[in-house]
Each structure stands twice: as C-alpha cells, then as structure tokens.
C-alpha cells in the first residue's frame, strides 16, 4: 500500500503541471477568439438591467481589450503559473469572455440581461436536484445512472397527481415516484448485488417506456389528467426589491428556493453530521465502516431513497414549475447532464450547483441568441453547452476522484 502512495505523489504533480499548461493555452485561445471573431462587429450592445436602466457596452473595444488581457494572462500562466489562483483567474477570464461574447452577439441591439440570468437560475433547477440525487447515491457507494429515469418519473407523477389533486399533491407524488424508482435501484443493487450501471440503465428505459406508454394510452384520451396549474413565482419580501439580484434570485418559483436549500442542507448533511460522515465512509471503504459497526446496507438504502425523493422533486419542475403538462420524454437527457454535473462538480453539492448554473446559463444564452441575428447557425449555439462540458471535463477536471466504492456491491463476508 505504502509503495502505491509513494508513486502517486510525483504523478499527481505531473498531471497538475499538464493541467496548468492546458489552462494557459486555453486562455491564449480565448484571447485569439476574442481578437479575431468577437472584435469583428462594431456597435454598442445594450444590456437591460432594470426596466428603466440599460447598460451600453461598445462591442469592438471591449473584445479587443479582453483579447489583450487574456493573451497576457495566458502567457503569465504558461511561464510563471498562477499557482493556487489558477482557478480564480480562469473563472474570471471565462466570465468576462462570456460577457464579450454576449456583447458581440447583441451589438447594435439590446436584450434583458436580468431576464437571461433569471432564466439561467430557473433552468438549473432540475440539473441541480438531479445532481444532488446522484451525489447522495454515489457518496454512499451506489452509482446512480438512473437520474434521467427518476426525473422523468417525477415529471409524470407531478403532472398527473397535480392535475387531479392540485400542485402540492403533485410534488408529493413526484417525490414518491422518485423514491419508488430509486427503491428498484436499491433492491437490485444492494439486495441482489446486480451491476449498478445495468439496473440504472434499465430503470431509465423502464421509466421512459412506462411514462410514454401511459401518456399515449391514458393522457391522450383524457387530457383532463394532464393539465396542472404551475406554481407562480414568489417574490421574497424586501430581498426581491434589490435591483437585478432581486429579480434573478428572489423572484422565482418554489423550486429555485428548494433547490438552493437542498444544496445547503446536503452539504451540511454530508460534511457536518454523523450520518454524512458514515455515508462518505461507506462510499470509500465499506468493509472498514462495516467492521466498526456501521450498518452499510441500511445506510445505503436510506441514501438511495432520499436521493430518489430529491430527483423526483427535480422532475416535478417540468409540469409544476414551467409548462403545466407532461409530454413524452420531457426531460430530454437532462438527467445525463445532471450526471455530468456530479462529476464536473467533483461529487460535492456546491460544485454540482456551479455546474448546473453553467448548463443553465448556456441554455439561457442559446434561447436569447435565437432572437438575435448573429449569423451563427442556431445548431452551433445549441452545441455550445456540450462543447463547454467536453472541454472542461477533458482539460481541467480530468481524473477527478470518485468515491472509491461507487459501483461495487457490499458483501459483509468479504
């Protein structure tokens, strides 16, 4: 064991070096994009912040200034390195680049920046909740690939029960549906020790097939089961009066508040409670935890159930937070994006929230872009979130460390 530890130390630093180099090259690359592409359009871009106030940014000078700054930062990173500030520099640079991109796209026109940010937060909800479901499972050593299925099941139950008995019952039903689907995962993965990825995939298929089947067979002839009144945004007293932030964060539906709460609670739960400590322990080395008297099986069951409830709630976002109805495959792969957010966020709720916001932002940007005439084919804008994920995962996250026992069934006799 000790030998293994010794050899990994220099390897890690080599990888860190590689990563630092990648960051440097990316900064230079962004700078070049900014210089040659984004500086190509003259005119001012208007960003409406509040109804009465619009900020105008000159597109061309902004992009040129950014290009110089990015290339300089990239050069510093390549020759000296920012060390522990690397991520901060990268985040600021990327953020500024996004603003430059928006300036370029909106030059000669204007759009509501506040509206876009509000949309970002709204759209991140199912991804955040789905990712938390993934984290709770995987931290306890059960890979949850079935997030997509749980979201879809939650959306279906939320729509039907919401239509029949009102939105609050819809939420409870969605969570129950999530628990039901995760119970399948739990029984198969923990009790029958089936390969967790196989069960997860089967649950995704099962959920997709069942909800599509029922939607066509029951909901199409009975549209009265599929019309629900979604929750309306609730403006938090006082806080919603703050300009920009008030609209973005505090004039939202229940789902946004609950998902932020879920991030806080799950972080506290994982890192500050005995349950959380034990959960992390059985996700790393269940045999050791089992020897010390932790009931591995029971704890895994509970975590998977809770995760199901969280994912079901995330699914309820579609009918109860947005469109007010269920459609076949309404989640459209968001569960897999949530899975990416789990890894992207390194199995930490706050990291997952960040990743979800990035996805939400790119969805929101792409919606806005379709209204602006940029000359970029809309298909390429639609690709953007996936390209970003690919680059981030390949370039910066790399071999992120997963819970060690994730994917392995627990056998006390071993």
């Amino acid at each position: 064991m000790s030998i293994a530890v010794d050899t990994t130390a220099p390897l890690l630093s080599l990888e860190q070096k590689k990563r630092a180099r990648n960051v440097g090259f990316s900064l230079v690359f962004l700078g070049l994009v900014s210089a040659f592409l984004l500086a190509g359009r003259p005119g001012n871009a208007g960003f409406k912040l509040v109804d009465s106030y619009t900020v105008f940014l000159p597109a061309q000078p902004f992009a040129r200034a950014l290009a110089v700054a990015l290339v300089a930062l990239g050069a510093i990173q390549l020759f000296r390195g920012f060390g522990k500030w690397t991520n901060v520099v990268l985040a600021i640079a990327t953020g500024t680049f996004v603003i430059a991109f928006l300036t370029w796209a909106a030059s000669g026109g204007s759009f509501s920046l506040t509206g876009m940010l509000q949309d970002t937060v709204t759209r991140s909800v199912p991804i955040t909740l789905g990712a938390i479901a993934g984290i709770l499972c995987e931290r306890s050593g059960v890979i949850n690939i079935a997030i997509e299925g749980q979201l879809l099941g939650g959306a279906f139950a939320g729509a039907v029960l919401g239509s029949l008995y009102g939105p609050w019952v819809g939420i409870v039903g969605a969570m129950a549906m999530g628990v039901g689907l995760s119970a399948i995962l739990a029984v198969f993965a923990i009790r029958f020790r089936v390969d967790q990825v196989i069960v997860g995939f089967a649950i995704n298929f099962f959920s997709l097939g069942l909800t599509s089947f029922l939607a066509q067979r029951v909901l199409t002839p009975h549209p009265e089961y599929n019309i629900v009144k979604p929750f309306t945004p609730y403006a938090v007293p006082l806080l919603s009066k703050i300009p920009v932030i008030g609209v973005v964060l505090f004039t939202q539906t229940l789902f946004v508040y609950v998902s932020i709460l879920a991030v806080v609670v799950s972080t506290w739960f994982l890192y500050r409670t005995r349950w959380g400590l034990r959960t992390r322990a059985i996700g790393e080395y269940p045999q050791a935890a089992g020897t010390l008297g932790v009931d591995v099986i029971k704890l895994r069951y509970r975590n998977v159930w809770i995760a199901g409830a969280v994912a079901g709630l995330g699914g309820a976002w579609w009918p109860l937070g947005t469109v007010g109805r269920f459609d076949q495959n309404i989640t459209n792969g968001r569960g897999f994006i949530a899975l990416a957010a789990v890894i992207f966020g390194r199995w930490h709720p706050v990291g997952a929230l960040t990743a979800a916001l990035v996805f939400g932002l790119s969805e929101a940007i792409q919606l806005k872009m379709s209204n602006l005439d940029t000359g970029i084919p809309s298909e390429f804008l639609l690709m953007a979130p996936y390209i970003v994920t690919l680059i981030v995962v390949a370039g910066f996250v790399g071999r992120s460390r997963a819970p060690k026992a994730a994917g392995q069934a627990y056998d006390a006799s071993k």
């Binding site: 029958f192 390969d195 089967a202 084919p377």
Partner: protein, 384 residues
Amino acid sequence: MKKFFNKIGERLNRISSMKLTLLAVLSALVVGAFIIIISDVDKLKSGDIAGAFSTVGSAYWALVVGSFGSLRAISNTINSSTPLILCGISVAIAFKAGLFNIGATGQMLAGGMASLWVGFSMHGPGIIQVPLAVLAGAIGGAAFGAIPGFLKARTGAHEVITTIMLNNMMAFFVLWLLKTNLFQREERTDPISKLVSAEGKLPRLFGFLDGRSDLIAHAGFFVALGVVAAYWWFLKKSTTGFEFRAYGLNSDAATYAGMHVKRLTVLAMVFAGGIAGMAGAAEVLGTYGYASANFAGNIGFDAIAIALLGQSSPLGTMFAAILFGALQAGGRQMQANSDVPIDLIVVLRALIVMFIAAPLLVKTIWRTKSATVSAGQTFRGWGS
C-alpha cells in the same frame, strides 16, 4: 474423461442460462400484461375486466404475428435487427475492454453521414460503390469514436460523459449538415438529405421476389452477421482481442503485464465507433436511402441493453439484438392492431434486462433450481 464431464457440465450450465433468459422474458411479459390492463382506464371504469384482458391477448398475438407471422414480418424483424446487432457489438466490444460506450448514437450518425456522402455523390457501379460507402461509414464512425478514446487516454476524461456530450453535439451537427447545399435535397427547405443513387443502395434481401416492395430487409444484415463473426474471431483468436479481455477483466494486471493501456483504450473506441458507423451506413444505404435528422433514433441506447443482455458475447449479443428487433417489428403491428402504444416495447426491454441482470430474483419468483448465472460486472466505478 474428466474433460468430457467438464464439457457436459458447461453445456448444462448454458442450458440453464437459456432457461433463465426465457423465464426473464416471461416475467417481463407478465408485468407488461399487468401494465396494459391497469392502463385501460375506460374499460376498468366501466367494469369490463374481461375486455381489458382480451386487449392483452390481442396485443401479444399481434406482437408474434408482426415479428414472425409472415414473410413480411420476418423481413421487418431482420430489418430492425440489423442496426441493433451492429450497435450491440459496438457497445459489447467496448465493454470487453472495460469501457462504456454510450456514444453509439453519435458514431452511427457520423458513419451514416459519411456513407451518405459516398452514396449520393457516386453513380455506380454498385459492386464498388456499396462497399466503399459502407467503408466510409466505418471510417466516419471510427474517427468519431476515436475522440472519446483519445480524450480518455490523454486526459482521463470519463467516456460516459464525453460520449454523451459528443452524441448531443453530433445530433446538432447533422441537423446543420442536412441544411447545407452539399447534403440538402434540392427544392427542400426541411433538413432532409439527397437520395442515395440507385446503384449505391444496399441490395434488398428478397429482391428476387418481384413486386414485393414491402420486404425491406437488406444486405446490411449480412454485414452485421459478418461483424459478429469477426468479433468472435477477434475475441478468441487475435492478440489484441486477448489484450482487450485482459484489460477489461483486470486493468492493473494488464498494465503490469506490459500491455499498452492507452493504445488499447483508443483502439477499443475506434473499433466500437467503426462498427456503430456501419450501423449508420446500413440505415442510410439500406433502410432509408437518405438521411433525416434523427435517423439514428434510440438504437444507440437500445444497443446498451442488448450488449448487457448478451453479456457482450458475440452470439449472445446477436440473439439479444434479434429479440429486440423482433419486438420492434411486432410492436408496430401491435400498435396498428390493438390500441396498445409501441412504447410498451421499451418497457418490456427494460424489464427483460432487469430480470436477466438479477437471476436471483427470477429464481425466487419461479422457484427454479438452476446454476448461478452472474451478469458480471461491466463497470468499475468512475475512476480511470
């Protein structure tokens, strides 16, 4: 003598594994029947329980008739199975090397578009053009499959994420391609491609029966069978195949034995992508004769279930694909004959996979005594 008995034991084991598969299918059908009955809201409300049961009968009968009941049904089954076999092998070969290829959909799209380009820009002779187009499909798929392999080898980016992202990117890229002058059909505004020239289409299997234009099965099926044979040879006889299996079973041991792990990772994804690309070629050159935005459908995802069901073995994967293809063909008939939507097929497939994966469960339900069959572990966690 001992060897002989061992062999017999192996046979018996295989038979019981067969029995287990049949029981799993049966269990899935029972659950499916339950779902059909409880979803028949109107009949249940009016108390017509017998009517609800008879729906199950007519639905399942249509499933059988639609998949094997006539020459046309068999042709449909063959046609549906063809891309499923190829994509199933694509996922299976990656599984063997310990990789999880969710990207068959994107690789299929890439390969299909490459073969489409050869298909409409050349005008015969067929004996050259068709193999060339299929080859182009394989190359297109392999090139696209190489990306996640390369990323994994170089940066450690997990293939589950990268292939999902690449699938989505490819879907939009194809949508864009289909609107370019190169690919879009003349005088069309929607994303639909030019037609593959008559010489470039994969020949119909039942082309010798004049006037039966409804028999759509095509020679892509033989390509698929050839790939199954090649896969078998690769696993059993080739050095690289041995390395794949060794690496898939125990990556540490394989590394220690001096196998070049990065090379294997890239190679596995290249093979997987190439085979999935051929599935795209088969769909474009055989089934449709053109490409629309989502000609890959859900085949890449079904393929994962197929490879799991067939435990990644050549024959197992092939039979699983034919089973899924038959369900697909029968499902269309079922939707037409009874009012049971084809989505039931997706449920049945999921249930079959679940029951197969949990032999212990099937054994408890049916109280059978058969040898333990493990589905095996396909996935060793998120670490590299």
